[in-house]
């Protein structure tokens, strides 16, 4: 298997495996139809949808990792939540300790240091670490380089648009798939399909017809455009945000993509000028040569 994975284009490999799985589901559906002589929408159809459209949906879902990256760098929300929990728990532990200490004082003298006391001391030491760490994220909005704050805000705005449009996009594909399967089931109830091949070809025809219409529809075109705009704006603003953070860090040893692009652009412009000069020189040489003759 590894050898085939290595040998084939990754797309071919994935699509073969997904089609193998889809065929298994399809065979199960066919068996049910050939036994009952009719078909309703089954869960296996959803699995076929997943196999067919994972290939297209995965790249969008990979982008979701961007959001995870932001969270891991600026875990403001996580830290605030954690700090509140730790703080509440600390209050509880302190009140419990106080209550127990008082109870023990009433029952016996002197009060010995128990393992429980040592746990409390350790816990309070641990909680202090969180207090220290939460100080920086609280300052973060003021610590960002100029413009970076706006890139971050834009990046998150487009992120929100992307997530909302992506849900609609996925749902639009799923609904079209379901619609074509329902038409297919309806057709089957009025006909007598005798072989698996015929069954499979019919299903493909029903699906293809539905998607041919969907992918050209105004509704689809508008949504796809919005989805792409939000996605690529999100990526752009996120990158610019990171770039500004890097550019403003005097210890950063890295050139940013935008800085490299600027250099590439200048090199291309110079290259065109050199080519133009070479052409003119060549023309001059020809003219000089002609004069000598």
């Amino acid at each position: 298997m590894i050898e085939v994975y290595r040998k084939l284009p990754k797309e071919s490999f994935e699509l073969i495996l997904r089609n193998l799985a889809a065929r298994e589901y399809l065979k199960r559906i066919w068996e049910q139809y050939s036994t009952l002589g009719k078909l309703d929408y089954l869960e296996d159809f959803d699995k076929i949808f997943e196999e067919l459209f994972r290939f297209f949906l995965r790249p969008f879902e990979l982008i979701i990792f961007n959001e995870r990256v932001i969270r891991s760098i600026f875990p403001l929300q996580d830290l605030i939540t954690t700090r509140d929990v730790v703080s509440a728990y600390t209050d509880f532990v302190e009140s419990l300790t106080s209550h127990m200490r008082l109870t023990l004082q009433l029952l016996s003298q002197p009060v010995p240091k128990t393992p429980f006391d040592r746990f409390i001391e350790d816990w309070l030491d641990f909680a202090k670490k969180f207090e220290f760490q939460t100080a920086f994220p609280q300052d973060l909005p003021f610590a960002l380089p100029a413009d970076a704050k706006n890139y971050l805000i834009d990046c998150m705005k487009h992120w929100g648009d992307f997530v909302s449009d992506y849900e609609k996009y996925r749902e639009m594909l799923r609904k079209a798939f379901r619609r074509s399967i329902e038409n297919f089931c309806d057709f089957l109830s009025r006909s007598n399909v005798k072989s698996f091949d015929e069954f499979k070809n019919l299903l493909q025809d029903f699906l293809a017809k539905e998607f041919d219409v969907l992918l050209k529809s105004e509704e689809y075109l508008d949504l796809q455009q919005r989805l792409f705009d939000a996605l690529f704006d999100h990526i752009y603003y996120l990158r610019r945000f990171f770039e500004l953070m890097l550019e403003n860090n005097p210890a950063s040893p890295f050139a940013t993509v935008s800085q490299l692009d600027e250099a590439y652009k200048r090199i291309m412009d110079l290259r065109r000028k050199i080519a133009e000069l070479e052409k003119r020189l060549e023309a001059l040489e020809v003219r000089l040569h002609d004069r000598k003759d």
């Binding site: 298997m1 050898e3 085939v4 040998k7 084939l8 284009p9 990754k10 797309e11 071919s12 699509l15 073969i16 997904r18 089609n19 193998l20 889809a22 065929r23 067919l52 459209f53 290939f55 297209f56 790249p59 091949d197 499979k200 493909q204 699906l207 293809a208 998607f211 041919d212 992918l215 050209k216 075109l221 508008d222 796809q224 455009q225 792409f228 705009d229 690529f232 704006d233 990526i235 752009y236 990158r239 993509v257 490299l260 692009d261 590439y264 652009k265 090199i267 291309m268 412009d269 065109r272 080519a275």
Partner: protein, 326 residues
């Protein structure tokens, strides 16, 4: 299944060639063969996918057929653009075509050559021919997008894209992004039916060979330089500048009225990328008196690699080229 697939060997480029010139990204290739005709032919491939589809394997090699008829075949390879190539422009491609045409004219001591464009390479070939008609003796355009105002799904999608948002975010448009788009245009046939067909034919070694030669080629996709993508989507798809005589290269207007030489157009009736309506208005518009269209009941790629196309369309096409190569 694994055993059967493991046995498949894919080795495109069936004909021998040498790299005659290399300029950063671009290369000029020359195929070895006995020359029986005076006029050389330069193949200008698209900047999407790789040119070896014209020499995929012996049985369906257009290059091999041309060489067999004694045509002197040259080809431009646009390479695999990297981030550093983001600022290439369409005019750089036209300039390189001019460089190659000049080189071939000098080497072969001819006034003009046959320029054969394929897909977006046809678009470049048409632009070049309009700018330098004196250097093009014959123009062959294969599945050519010239009129971009068509109703196929891909064209509709292109018209609903903001290319600059894409390229400012990712630089170049990667091959992977292009592959996903090309498959999503027809997901059921290209992702489901096609691979179900493979599962049905695992015992047929010939089928497996042809299937994987195609799949390797389809997924061997170079990126499109960011600036080229912007220009191509905005000026061709959004504004349809070429067919309206509104496109320019470095300030020089591209006027289709200058195409007066013999023109052969090859198109596919079931092409979902460049449908017949991409080329027919062009044929009607140009003043050439010697123009011919050959079509086949296939799709965009089937025209190039199907055996039935080779048996009929390519036979006629190569005859047309040979008759005008002396």
């Amino acid at each position: 299944m694994i055993e059967k697939i493991r046995g498949v060997e894919v080795k495109p480029w069936s004909c021998d060639y040498e790299v005659v010139h290399e300029d950063w990204l671009f290369k000029l290739l020359h195929f070895k063969g006995e020359r029986k005709h005076r006029i050389p032919l330069l193949l200008v491939y698209a900047f999407i996918n790789r040119p070896y589809v014209l020499d995929l394997h012996e049985e369906v090699s257009v290059v091999r057929k041309l060489i067999a008829e004694g045509i002197d075949v040259w080809m431009i390879d646009w390479g695999y653009p990297k981030r550093a190539d983001k600022f290439f422009r369409i005019s750089d491609y036209i300039d390189y075509i001019d460089f190659c045409v000049e080189k071939i004219r000098k080497e072969r001591n001819v006034e003009a050559i046959t320029l054969h464009g394929y897909c977006l390479g046809s678009t470049l070939a048409v632009i070049y021919t309009s700018l330098h008609p004196e250097k093009v003796k014959n123009l062959v355009i294969q599945t050519p997008p010239i009129n971009f105002d068509t109703e196929n799904t891909l064209a509709l999608w292109a018209k609903h894209l903001n290319p600059r948002k894409i390229t400012r975010a990712v630089g170049n448009v990667s091959g992977e992004m292009l592959n996903i788009s090309f498959l999503l245009v027809d997901p059921v046939r290209l992702v489901f039916s096609k691979y179900q067909g493979l599962l049905d034919n695992l015992d047929d070694p010939k089928f497996l060979k042809e299937f994987f030669y195609m799949d390797f080629w389809i997924f061997d996709s170079p990126a499109i330089p960011g600036n080229v993508y912007d220009e191509f989507i905005e000026r061709w798809y959004h504004k349809n500048e070429l067919i309206k005589n509104e496109f320019d290269v470095n300030g020089r207007k591209v006027d289709l009225n200058r195409i007066t030489m013999p023109v052969l157009a090859l198109y596919a009736e079931r092409d979902h990328i460049t449908p017949p309506s991409s080329v027919i208005p062009f044929l009607e518009k140009i003043p050439s008196k010697d123009k011919k269209a050959l079509s086949v009941d296939k799709g965009h790629i089937g025209l190039t690699v199907s055996k039935s196309s080779h048996a009929k369309l390519w036979k006629e096409a190569i005859k047309w080229i040979v008759e005008r190569s002396d």
